[in-house]
Symmetry: C2
Subunit: 764 residues, 2 copies
């Protein structure tokens, strides 16, 4: 079996010839639980994040934000602010070159960089550059803005009423619902022996990245250099070049270290443009750092969802119909929203209909957030499956095993390159001790335990393009040059391991240069669980290109054929073991060239097969029926993300993803004050995310490797997002198992639990 | 006619296939007098030189230097220095890891980083790192060093006496004289009708770079990043990796802007190693900036030369024999020295013998300095030729025209790829009005005018290797990635022009990343007048590689053959003019790839032909016979450096080189106090270099282009060094023409002129 994709016979010429790299046999480096190559820098604090960066003569920007949920700016008077100490520039929409159209999202309305129609509390109105951050903040308060305050709407049900205040002209619905249907749902339900349905609600969550949103901007003549906390330097470059009308070559975007993005750092931010304009006005570098509170208001979020679902099944558990209505609450601008994909694709079902629509309210906009739309959909689907299992009297694991599919039904039954959900379910259940735990007798007392599970899948295949350059130096040490950002997930480490695997060079002799548009080639944003599968094959192809050059040089010097030679441990030897092995660094041809340059690209699957990851997670919870508190006691995650590239970072991804799932299930929610339309908990005290005390000590990761030889030349399918998709539903199902109450609205707050328990008692 | 060298058919695979790039026809960009691409950064001060760089928590190094011309260090007590305010570390040879062997030069003795045998006043003894530069300097004075003071020698004639103090064990001569001979010199002189001879002396000159010697060093774990004011980041990397025993990939050397090197920044400096050790001791970044005074003492110089020359010629001017004895005064370590090349190679002569040797004295070491050894040799040879012309009654220009050669006689008569000296002589003489000026009647009064000329050549062909990557982005803007440093000569501008020429992309859409070992490939040091000829062909090859990819993509999309298409003004059109031209950025294939990557290398001439530049310069001087002052009134330089890449930077190179020649001729000399052995003028007040008032307003540059199609694919042969080689001799010859006195010892000080005039009067 050979791989079909990813390496070119003739890489630098880009003739798209697809070479065949054989799959790795037993690996020597890939898959091992290795520490990160930048661990030292990260733990000692020597790693310079954008937030840490200081340039000589650098000014600090601060942004004036609309304090009203909905208002029109009628006047901006900057005269007092301009006279404040240390202030070098005040920027408004009336400043030269600042009246910039602002497109958010692919469709929908355009606004301006500083729009006079402010659609949420926190929208940008003006900005200041001063010598110190505090001077800048002081000066923002001295900018006198007059507003015409408008009626607002922050509730999704209110927003769709005909008389609701309009966030944008034309009403609060983003066009007609998107309908997708296959088979005959009506007939499907008619065939069903059992039908279940429910309405599920999820909350708006904030990304709460460790490093907030920050850019440092410097102009050299008409050239712009931007250090940006971004998930993709090339995306920021493209945005800046478009907005500021510059050639791509004139914009350099750099991101050496990044403190978390989770989807909120895909696009160029307003603060970045503001910094660029202020730097141009003042002739000095400008840092624009968005404060934590501002980040809660304006930097995106995971949209709340309202999901109605209905499922029909035969008595043996075979699904006959699935039907859903999805509503996403996108906030003031049309990004983010809802994603019914799993209803259409996770289980084999001939008759499916989903209807999805999104609604504006006067609040900060949604955007991509770790598996955009998937955790809400999973919250609904996997609780409904749990209901269905209960109604059928089936074990929830068995119900899912009954309905597996190896093709993507929503795309003409295109086959998956591999599908390991069945193995995730069985191996996960085994590792969890599912059968025994499920049948454990009910607890006595007010603290009761329960177990639940959920399956999930991720459904994104992003742009496949990445071009990597690998350089082998005269002493056989290596430099890997790639565009991808390491957004904290260990990308650099995995890529170094790919090089080490292919070339037999130890990790400490591999240096990585990355995430700099001026010195690397191209990589898509690090996101969508695509970073490894887009870049690792390109890295492997580049390494293979260098390896070929080494062997060609060695064959000439050792007077034999390339095919007679093998490269291992930094030496070239005859495959038959004859003669002496020659160190790569001893090859004259390498010394003469000083450097060998390999170019690698990644190509998509030639037949269009679909490579997607799958997961099954299992949770055990303790519910305190007196206080309503839910404590997650134990989590097991079985993942088919293809090959494990680094067992340590793999496990960390899974544990981190589940931690985020715990937050989704139990605590995270943006609270909008219905009186004012403002966010009531825009800080880390009131907006709760899980801490070490909130996640179970006992977390187990069960990697399932289907040995996918078709997805790409590394066999990896992506892990970042699947890790967080099924967690919350598994917890909700465990709560149901514990106390018999189904909490359909996330998060499962103590108040909700107590109210539902009280309601059930009343109903009894 | 096609070029033989420089482009590979298959660049990334490095199969050494040599493609043939046709010579440029009429150029549209190359050759034009364009301003530098980094002019804005340079004139506004936004360009960050290493000396400008500040890192957070950066410490400052200062070096304790030996105050004696010759001494042995018997004790170093750092205890008081360690307690000084702000001091973080004191480094001596006894510090862990600091007892490092120090090789200076290719052969000869080894010393240590901190050698207990100090061989000149200024040698490194210890170093301090402190929070501020002033604290560091204060602390150096608190390092108590005990010396055993030794007898010293600073005079070259004294140094070779048997009883002289020995700078190194084994005597002050660096081995046996290097003798080179062809033909039969004795027979040659026997055939001569006229014989002339003379002894010429030149002074030790200092490089006086605008930016002194400075490194900023940061460790991240075992990875070292060094910002260094260097002429070659890869050379500094190699030195650091060797000395500190690190893989090449673990050493990153960066030099974004450089304030002059002139040969003194080829190798890794002691201050750089010291900074690296101090940074490792303290865990903080360290800047080591060598002060101006220290730079005069310890950073190298142009060695003084003593040259005896003898020439014989037929009555018609045909040279029959040349004989010379060259002595270079290298200082305390064996770098620099003397170079008789021009005696062997500038003129056709069948019988030549040269003997060269170098001598140690107790003074700062020599090193490469703009055309190492050539200006002293030229000073002697071209004054002797002037003498010979006088004795033959020939015009000096005619004498030189009589003795031209098109082959390198000292290397088996290997042909030059081109030889434009004849044209330099005739066109230079014409531009200068030589014949008329030469025959102008003698001046009346005490200020007398004279004209003189000299020819010259440069004789270095360095390592030909350079690997360049060129990236074309989706909007058809370009990024050029090359290892070469732009040491102030305009390298970036010329390389951008090559890209613009080849791809039809305007300069403002080309961004350059350079001189960073982590993000570029490989380039030799920028020096030896090789920067353009080594790198420009690699750049052209990379651009041609990108162009080929563009045309291949376009041919597929426009349904025609690659050969049917031409690329001009950023558009692809059919060569026959049919159909519509398509902008490169509109090619779908480019959009799909996001970036096209071209790789270019430079290869040496396959037949080993020699590509060297030639020059003839003409000077007019005014000599004040009462004060002895010499004023250069007018300079004309005619240069065959092959193709003019940028007329503006070309002229600037010539004017700058001649200015340095004025300094050599009239003012520059290190003065060593015979009482103490210390340098008496280690500052810019006492060590004179030409200022605007010392160079003539009237300087003319006459580029001579022999349309060399063999030297490389650009036709350029190198200009940096030839520009300074003949200037001083032309001035000395003009002085002789003015006052009839031959000043054989550079510089021509007023005191010398008056003494020689007085001696002549006495002799009359």
């Amino acid at each position: 079996m050979t791989y079909y994709v990813d390496a070119e016979e003739h890489p630098a010429t880009d003739r798209q010839g697809v070479a065949q790299l054989p799959p790795w046999g037993e690996t020597r480096v890939v898959g091992k639980p290795l520490s990160r190559v930048d661990a030292y820098e990260r733990v000692t604090g020597s790693a310079v994040y954008t937030l840490d960066l200081t340039l000589p003569d650098m000014l600090h920007a601060a942004i004036v934000r609309c304090p009203h949920a909905h208002a029109r700016v009628t006047r901006v008077d900057t005269s007092r602010a301009e006279r404040m100490p240390g202030v070098r520039a005040v920027l408004t929409g009336a400043s030269p070159g600042a009246d910039i159209p602002w497109h958010i999202g692919r469709q929908g309305p355009t606004s301006r960089l500083f729009d006079t129609h402010c659609r949420y509390a926190g929208e940008e109105v003006a900005a200041v550059a001063a010598e110190t951050p505090h001077q800048a903040w002081d000066a923002t308060r001295a900018v006198a803005v007059e507003y015409e305050v408008l009626p607002f709407v922050v509730d999704v049900d209110a927003a769709v009423r005909p008389d609701a205040p309009q966030v944008h002209e034309g009403g609060n619905r983003l066009g007609a619902p998107r309908v997708s249907e296959r088979g005959d749902v009506r007939a499907g339900f008619a065939q069903a022996d059992v039908v279940v349905e429910g309405t599920y609600r999820t909350s708006c969550e904030l990304h709460t990245t460790m490093e907030t949103y920050v850019s440092v901007v410097r102009w050299d003549g008409s050239r712009l250099t931007v250090w940006d906390s971004t998930q993709g330097v090339f995306a920021t470059r493209a945005g800046l070049a478009r907005i500021l009308d510059l050639p791509l070559s004139s914009v350099r975007v750099i991101c050496p270290y990044m403190g978390g993005g989770f989807g909120s750092k895909f696009e160029v931010g307003k603060h970045t443009i503001i910094a660029a304009l202020l730097a141009r006005m003042t002739g000095q570098p400008v840092k624009a750092a968005v404060l934590r509170e501002e980040s809660f208001l304006s930097q995106g979020n995971r949209p709340a969802n309202v999901i109605r679902l209905r499922a029909g099944a035969k008595r043996d558990g075979t699904l006959t119909a699935l039907e859903g209505t999805f509503t996403g609450v996108v906030g003031a601008y049309p990004t983010g929203g809802t994603a019914p994909f799993q209803v259409e694709a996770l289980y084999r079902c001939p008759n499916v209909r989903v209807e999805a629509s999104d609604v504006y309210v006067n609040a900060g906009r949604g955007c991509a957030f770790r598996a955009p739309g998937f955790p809400p959909c999973n919250w609904a689907l996997e609780q409904l499956m749990d209901e269905l299992a209960g109604k059928l009297g089936m074990d929830p694991v068995d119900l899912r095993l009954k309905n597996l599919t190896t093709v993507l039904q929503s795309q003409g039954n295109m086959p998956f390159t591999s599908m390991g959900l069945g193995e995730c379910l069985t191996r996960g259940a085994e590792a969890f001790g599912w059968r025994a735990a499920r049948e454990r007798p009910p607890a006595v007392g007010h603290v009761v335990r329960g177990v639940g599970m959920a399956a999930g899948m991720w459904g994104y295949q992003g742009e496949p393009r990445s071009t990597v350059i690998l350089k082998l130096y005269a002493d056989s040490s290596v430099n890997l040059n790639m565009g991808a950002s390491d957004i904290g997930t260990g990308t650099k480490t995995v890529m170094a391991m790919v090089v080490a695997e292919e070339l037999g060079v130890p990790l400490e002799r591999i240096q990585i240069e990355h995430a700099d548009t001026a010195t690397t080639q191209y990589a898509p944003v690090s996101g969508g669980s695509q970073t490894v599968l887009v870049n690792a094959p390109a890295v492997r192809a580049a390494a293979a290109d260098v390896k070929r050059q080494i062997l060609e040089i060695a064959a000439a010097e050792m007077q034999c054929q390339v095919g007679d030679l093998v490269l291992a441990d930094g030496k070239v030897a005859r495959a038959d073991g004859s003669g002496e092995a020659r160190p790569v660094s001893a090859l004259r041809g390498l010394q003469e060239r000083d450097v060998l340059v390999g170019v690698g690209r990644r190509h998509p699957h030639p037949e269009g097969k679909i490579a997607l990851p799958f997961a099954a997670q299992f949770a055990e919870v303790e519910v305190n029926t007196r206080t309503g508190e839910v404590r997650v006691v134990r989590l097991v995650a079985a993942h088919d993300s293809g090959r494990v590239m680094n067992l340590k970072t793999y496990e960390n991804q899974v544990f981190g993803g589940m931690t985020m799932g715990v937050g989704f299930a139990l605590m995270e929610q943006r609270v909008l004050d219905p009186q004012t339309g403002k966010m009531a908990n825009a800080n880390w005290h009131d907006y709760k995310i899980p801490t070490a005390m909130d996640v179970p000590l006992e977390q187990t990761c069960v990697p399932v490797d289907p040995h996918d030889t078709e997805c790409n030349t590394t066999g990896a399918k992506g892990l970042g997002e699947p890790a967080t998709i099924p967690t919350a539903a598994a917890i909700a199902n465990a709560v149901h198992h514990a106390i018999g109450v189904r909490v359909t609205e996330a998060p499962i707050t103590p108040m909700q639990v107590l109210q539902l328990l009280a309601a059930r008692r009343e109903g009894e």
